[in-house]
């Protein structure tokens, strides 16, 4: 059976027509059945122009028949209904020949909206050409009110569930973060998910320094000069979330920001300040590829995420500070012995992999005890701070400078062959000899320096303890030879014995021990 067959059965053609009075009565009855049926009924052209309509539909909508005839059915719908009708209803009706129980809303004559349920069927003429559309309309006011309430309740429930889940997930992700970097990574992930952002980024300032990208999309940095930086400052200054909803708003805020966003396929952004210990220390930036309306809900969610992250950031910063304390000398800020040993472990492993030499420079101050004893510990401390800063300034960028003990310093120089290590050690020696700012001119200090070089290509094994011990012994060699000099040693045979040789270039201060 085809649609045409099914739909065109208004009356059985082979049934004999009844005569006279009865037929008239039947016709009246059918007409009444049509006009006053407990549902609205319409016929339209294939394009939707109403050609017949029953009284029930007139009564429900308040539109007069004369007004309805010739009107397109879609023009009776509210705008949302029109969107749905054209993009879904009409398409499926055209392809499938039928739609059932579609919920729409009709605009009544008194501007009231009547929720309806619609069944429609496409009719074909006997020759197969489209014959029009027959539509049955049910008043769905009560059902739709009820469904709408259910729908709203469901959406509310979903929204609050989403919100709770986002915050819970964020809370557990933030909870396991041990560094600001890890926290920032977790915040980028949470913000992207929560706001369905294209990307997100976290920028933090260390103290009063500038904002730096800690995690997330570098686009945030690229946009910094185009206006994002100024907006971030605004968020930090006000402590409130700053948003840009679309490109027009971006242009109004700062000419050019719109083009900068558009060029990166972005149209909107939001910036939430991160508050740590009552002070704003950074921002989380969310970037969007589509215009956004930042309603109260999304602002609150952002604020809640930023609040959680800010609190954790305080805790993480404290932990980082404690970890720093545990690994650094409080007086000079240099790495302490523990951190030095860790770094030397790493340097030896790296050298073994790369087959590049590593050197340990052991520096012991001569003349420091006299200053400490006669001028006091405070001056002694100043001298140590000054020496630490000099060592740091003449060391290479990647070298680890550590305070090893009272007036002992150790520098780990990766990728430093004997020549390079001797140069560095010589720079240290000269740096220490320069007159000190913190003591009267008659006091002076010098450095006895020992260097241990390990070249993995020599076949010798090395360890942290061994390198430190050999460098220490070389330092004592310098002390024994008259101080203020450098003694070089290498670890270059399979028995791990240290070989100290006289310096080849005959510098009086540097010697190689035998």
């Amino acid at each position: 059976m085809t649609i045409a067959d099914e739909a065109s059965v208004d009356r059985e053609p082979d049934e004999p027509e009844e005569e006279g009075h009865d037929a008239l009565q039947d016709a009246d009855a059918f007409e009444e059945l049509f006009e006053d049926a407990p549902c609205g009924y319409l016929e339209t052209t294939p394009d939707g122009v109403i050609t017949r309509v029953n009284r029930t539909f007139e009564r429900w909508t308040g539109h007069a028949r004369e007004a309805l005839l010739g009107t397109n059915f879609i023009d009776l719908l509210n705008p949302s209904g029109q969107l749905f009708y054209e993009t879904r209803f009409a398409t499926v009706l055209s392809l499938a020949g039928e739609v059932r129980e579609v919920a729409l809303s009709v605009r009544c004559d008194d501007l009231r909206e009547l929720p309806i349920l619609v069944n429609a069927i496409k009719v074909r003429e006997a020759d197969g050409r489209p014959g029009g559309i027959r539509t049955v309309v049910f008043d769905a006011t009560e059902r739709q009110d009820y469904e709408r309430q259910l729908l709203l309740a469901r959406r509310d429930a979903e929204a609050s569930e989403t919100r709770v889940r986002v915050l819970q997930d964020a809370s557990s992700a933030f909870g396991v973060a041990t560094t600001a970097r890890e926290l920032a990574d977790a915040l980028v992930a949470s913000a992207s998910t929560a706001l369905r952002a294209s990307s997100a980024a976290v920028l933090l300032a260390d103290g009063t320094g500038p904002l730096e990208l800690i995690a997330g999309d570098v686009t945030a940095l690229e946009l910094f000069d185009a206006g994002l930086g100024a907006l971030a400052e605004q968020a930090i200054g006000s402590g409130d979330i700053v948003t840009v909803a679309d490109l027009d708003q971006a242009a109004a805020i700062l000419p050019g920001l719109d083009d900068a966003l558009h060029g990166r396929r972005l149209t909107a952004l939001s910036i939430a300040p991160l508050r740590t210990d009552g002070r704003v220390s950074g921002v989380v930036v969310s970037l969007f590829a589509r215009d956004r309306v930042f309603d109260t809900e999304s602002r609150e969610l952002q604020a809640a995420l930023a609040r959680q992250a800010g609190q954790v950031l305080g805790r993480v910063r404290l932990q980082e500070e404690l970890a720093h304390h545990a690994m650094h000398d409080q007086l000079t800020g240099l790495a302490n012995r523990k951190l030095l040993e860790e770094r030397l472990d790493g340097a030896i492993a790296a050298a073994a992999r790369s087959r590049r030499p590593v050197s340990v420079v052991f520096v012991d101050l001569d003349g420091f005890k006299a200053i400490n004893d006669s001028l006091g510990h405070r001056v002694g401390d100043d001298v140590l701070i000054e020496v630490a800063s000099r060592l740091r300034s003449v060391a290479r960028a990647g070298d680890s400078v550590a305070r090893y003990g009272g007036d002992e310093f150790v520098v780990v120089c990766e990728d430093a062959a004997p020549e390079a290590a001797a140069n560095i050690a010589e720079r240290f020696r000269q740096a220490v000899r320069r007159p000190l700012d913190s003591v009267p001119p008659r006091y002076s200090i010098a450095a006895s320096i020992g260097v241990a070089v390990w070249d993995p290509t020599n076949g010798a094994e090395a360890s942290t303890d061994l390198l430190l011990r050999i460098a220490d012994e070389a330092m004592y060699g310098s002390k024994g030879a008259g101080r203020d000099r450098v003694t070089m040693t290498t670890i270059d045979d399979a028995t791990n014995a240290a070989h100290t040789r006289l310096d080849q270039d005959q510098r009086p201060e540097t010697r190689w021990e035998h």
């Binding site: 209904g81 749905f84 054209e86 709408r148």
Partner: protein, 297 residues
Amino acid sequence: MTEKDPPPPTPGIAEDRPDPWQVCMTLTTPVSGSDVLHRNNVTLSGNPTGRPIVFVHGFGCSQEMWHAVTPHFEADHRVVLIDLVGAGGSDVTAYDPVKYDSLHGYADDILEIMAALDLRDAVYVGHSVAATIGVLAETTDASRFGALVLVAPSPRYIDDDEYRGGFERADIEGLLDALDANYFGWSQTMAPLIMGNAERPDLGRQLTDSFCTVDPEIARHFARVTFLSDNRRDLSAVRTRTLVLQCSDDVIAPATVGRYVHEQISTSRLVQLAATGHCPNLSAPDELTQAITEFIR
């Protein structure tokens, strides 16, 4: 659809007035061998050596909506039909809510498909939101485009100062309500497709009674992306010859919008169709075909 009696599939081009069932089944040849083509359920037909013509459907439907149009192009053209991700026989598992949160996500897919098929001098025919998707693809990389046909385009549906898109933001929220209110209708039509899709997508498409299947969750998001996007700025960058087809009495894309699109694209021609409503590919396929043919002749 409860009653249907499709005639046996007959190969070749359907005569004068193609029957929807027949066309859907005979022309659909799923292309394999490429993830991109599988993802978008790309189907090829027509003359393999002809100038390629790509048809892309809008919100709420799938490639089925071109069934009465494409047969007219098969003699001279390599006809490429696609389903946007989330619609029809596309791979819904490829749906990435971040990627597809802007029409650029869909435009990138179009460019990937054109590259995968190595299309050159292609005619791109996009209906409704797919017109905007075509504009974004062309302005990203025009190298494979020979002509753009924008059927009932609208770069922005919401009114904005002087600009009259035809809708208020509240209307779009209302559409989302309508989608939710009709959710069961959608999911019912989805059920057989999902079942059929898992192992044998080709079978699934033939066995199902449904039309224009769309994943309801994706449809909600796609509705937002479609009707809340503003792509007016992208129009002026189009360099390819463009045909703007404006329907009569189209409440979705009113005449003022068609004129706006034409004014913004310097290389465009505006043609007014007698066809009423938003979907001339369904209501007036012959007139639509003629307009496209004349433009690309």
